[in-house]
Structures are given as C-alpha cells and as structure tokens.
C-alpha cells in the first residue's frame, strides 16, 4: 500500500507541490511567449509533455550507458532529436498550431524543465518512475500554461478558444490589450506565482521562500549553476524594522485576507458582508 502511495505521489507532486512552472520556475520562456491564447498554452504544454515523457524514458534507459562527464551534451542531443521528430509531426497534422508556436517548438530543446528532469530524476530512477514523473510534471506545466493562456486571452482579447465571450461585448466592455502584449504576460505570470505561493503555504504549511529558492532544487544544470543561484542578495543585512519588534505581528494580522491579498481579501470582504 505504501508503495502504491509513493507511486501516486510521483505523479501528483508535479501538479501542485512541485509544479515546474509556478513553484520550481523552470521553463519560463515558453510560458511567457506563447500563452497569448488558451489553445496555444494547451498546445505548447502538450508538445512539451510529449518530449518530456520520451526524453525521460530514453535517458532513464541509457542512464548506465552514458558516461557522467559528457552527460549534458548527450542529453541535449537526445532531446534535440526528439524535438525534431515532434516538429515534423506537428507540421504534418496540426499546421495551425505549428505556425502559431513558431520558433518556440525548436526551443523546447533548451526548455529547462526537460533537461532539469533528466538531470534530477531520470538519470537516477527506473523507466516506470521516470515516465510517471514526466507525466506529472508535464500535466502540471500544461495546466499552468493553460491557466495563464486562458486568463490572458479572456482579459486581453475577450475570447476563449477563439469564441467571443458574450458578457464582455454586451456590456460595452473593451478587452484590455495590454494582457495580450509581453507586459501582460509578465504580470499574469507574476500573479499566478503569487497565488501559488499563498496556496502552497496554506496546503503544505511551509515557508514559500524555501520552495522558491533555486538552491533547494537539485534540477539545475550543474554545480556551477547552483553556485551562481546561491550567491547572496546584495542587501542581505536585516532590514530595519518599521515598527519596533516587527517579528511580533499581532496574531489577528496573520489571518489570511486581512492584508490586501487577492482572492482571500475578497472572501474576507464577503464574510464581512454576510456578517452584517
């Protein structure tokens, strides 16, 4: 039973707890660039998942054959070949998606998620587990891309999967173009990560900062990478407290939703209204 649970965990961890995009922040480039619509987000997620599953299984099979010193070039070559195959398939069967994703299909090769999972998981685990890990990570990535894509499409163009949203045009609202532009991409992604930090702290009762920092994640490319990301902040001294004893925040202030906090603030407002 315990084993079954851990296998299930292997799959589920990628979706929320170690969501590759929103918690581990790998693969940000495609996440920002192609998520101008829900269908693009979904397509990019599916394409990356396919490559991730295949690369994880191939690398896991070859993990004893590849010498340690040249593993990174070997992985990159495997991944690049898989991406080339995928590009052919997309050109043949979904040319529209291929056109809208454009240059970001070949760039799946350098997506940090794929190399990161190969390095952190596939080269030390069996094929079955590596495939499950890839499925979970892929699902988490796809869900995150889909969420960002839908939000940007609805807010930026007033459509969802290309279908006009009725309540936007009928009420004389105009879609906010900024969300379709690069600036909106950064903003929506930032808000999603903020929401995820909030949620993961509630669900897992752990410090969000600990999950966000790269140093806790073994999937970075090399020891060099870790050395850079571990370098200290410029201002690493303690910030002068604004109120005496800033640690002693009143217990009531620690309640979620008291400080302006997105969803929670709204629900707190609702609670107040209901109380009235």
């Amino acid at each position: 039973m315990a084993k079954k649970n851990s296998i299930l965990n292997e799959f589920l961890k990628g979706i929320i707890k170690e969501n590759p995009l929103l918690v581990l922040t790998l693969g940000t480039c495609p996440a920002l660039a192609v998520t101008t619509s829900a269908s693009n987000g979904l397509g990019m997620g599916a394409a990356s998942t396919a490559v991730l599953i295949l690369s994880n299984s191939v690398i896991s099979l070859l993990r004893k054959a590849i010498p340690d010193r040249i593993r990174i070039p070997a992985y990159i070559t495997i991944i690049a070949s898989l991406v080339t195959v995928l590009q052919f398939l997309l050109q043949a069967y979904v040319p529209a998606l291929n056109a809208s994703l454009g240059i970001f299909i070949p760039l799946i090769t350098v997506n940090c998620i794929i190399l990161g999972r190969a390095e952190a998981f596939a080269n030390s685990h069996g094929v079955g587990r590596s495939v499950l890990d890839a499925l979970g990570m892929g699902a988490g990535f796809t869900l995150a891309l889909f969420a960002i894509g839908s939000l940007r499409e609805i807010l930026g163009f007033g459509t969802f999967f290309g279908i006009q949203m009725p309540w936007i045009t009928e009420n004389g609202l105009r879609p906010m173009m900024i969300f379709g532009l690069p600036a909106g991409g950064f903003a929506v992604f930032g808000l999603m990560v903020a929401l995820m930090q909030k949620l993961s702290r509630r669900f897992y009762a752990r410090q969000p900062q600990a999950t966000m920092d790269r140093q806790h994640y073994p999937g970075s490319i090399s020891a060099h990478t870790d050395a850079i990301y571990e370098e200290k902040e410029v201002f690493d001294g303690p910030r002068p407290p604004r109120v005496p004893g800033a640690d002693a925040v009143p217990e009531a202030m620690k309640e979620p939703g008291i400080l302006a906090g997105g969803k929670n603030a709204e629900s707190a407002d609702k609670d107040k209204e209901e109380a009235k």
């Binding site: 690049a80 070949p106 350098v110 532009l181 060099h224 906090g261």
Partner: protein, 196 residues
C-alpha cells in the same frame, strides 16, 4: 549601412530579446540579483552569440540547405553551441585568465540559454545576409545586456522596499519586469521616425 542600422536598432529596442521576444527569461530573472553577475553573463552571451552565428550561418546555408537537410538545424545548432562553449571555455582559461575569472562561470549556463539558440534560428528564418546576421546577433546581445543592466538596477532598489509577504521573491520580480517591458513599448515607431 542604413539597413544595418535598422537591424541594429530594431533588435535592441523594439524586438528586445528578453522583454518582447521572451528569450533568455530564465537568466534574466536568475542572474539580475546584482549588477556584477548580470554584466558578466551579458558579456558572455554577446561573445558566444557572435561566435556561434559566425559558425551556424555558413553551416546552414552552405551545408544543410544545399543537401536538403534543413530540418536538422535544431540538432546541429545546439551541438555547435555546446561545442563552441566548451572550446571557448578552454581557450579563455588558457590564454586570458583574468577574462576567465570574470565570465568563466557563466559559460556552462549559456548552452541551455534559449536566447542563443533562439537568435540562431531567427537569423535563419529572417534570411539575413551574413553581415545582417552578425549585426542582428550583436544587437540581440546588446539588447539583452541593456535589459539585464536596467533590471538589475530595478531589483537593487526593490530589495529595500517593503513588499507584502505573498508577493516576495519571484512574483514581485515578474511584476517589475512587466513594468520595464511597458517602458520598452514606448520605442515602437522609433525606427519609422529615425529612418523615414
């Protein structure tokens, strides 16, 4: 000459690599915590980008294209980039130790920086001539440097600010990047006005 300038200005300001094409966002967020790292990485990126374009451009147009092997570009380019990085690292370590000290640690990171592969692919896609391709790589690198430079300044200021708990870390960084990106939108139309 005019064409070269148009390419240069448009890749630096309008199609800025990081802020409007979203290439190299990982390093943009990971390495802008302080100015020194940001500049070291940018110099390394410009260097590798120029050398890699100098190799991949002739390889594509004189080897892959005539042999109808254009579809192999991803595999070939990534191998070229990986080997250029390896060779450069060895050469710089041997010949220019101070330079290696300054940018050596960034070189291994560059292989998986999507900015490099992205620019190689864009150069082929846009069918620039050789000079144009080199200029576009140089401009893209300078654009990357500009974005890194500006943003590391923003982040140093941000470190002093008092930020709500749930926005700390990555979210506020992304929001700041969004605002920097808005400011770059102001350059739209600069090319038409400058070069008629």
């Amino acid at each position: 000459m005019k064409e070269m300038l148009i390419i240069l200005f448009s890749v630096i300001l309008i199609d800025n690599l990081v802020l409007s094409r979203f290439l190299g966002v990982c390093s943009f967020i990971g390495l802008t915590k302080n100015l020194k790292n940001a500049m070291g990485m940018s110099v390394a990126v410009i260097f590798v980008m120029m050398v890699a374009t100098g190799i991949t451009y002739p390889v594509y147009w004189s080897l892959l294209e005539p042999l109808k092997l254009g579809y192999l570009q991803t595999v070939v380019f990534i191998l070229v980039i990986a080997s250029v990085v390896q060779v450069l690292e060895a050469i710089i370590r041997k010949l220019f130790p101070p330079l290696y000290k300054a940018m050596g640690i960034y070189l291994p990171l560059i292989t998986t920086n999507c900015a490099i592969l992205g620019v190689m692919l864009i150069n082929i896609q846009e069918t620039y001539h050789f000079g144009g391709a080199m200029m576009s790589s140089f401009g893209a690198g300078v654009g990357y440097m500009l974005a890194m430079f500006l943003f590391s300044g923003v982040r140093e200021k941000m470190a002093k600010a008092d930020i709500p708990e749930f926005m700390k870390g990555l979210p506020i960084t992304l929001m700041a990047a969004s605002i920097v990106s808005v400011s770059f939108m102001g350059f739209k139309g600069v090319i038409e006005n400058l070069f008629g």
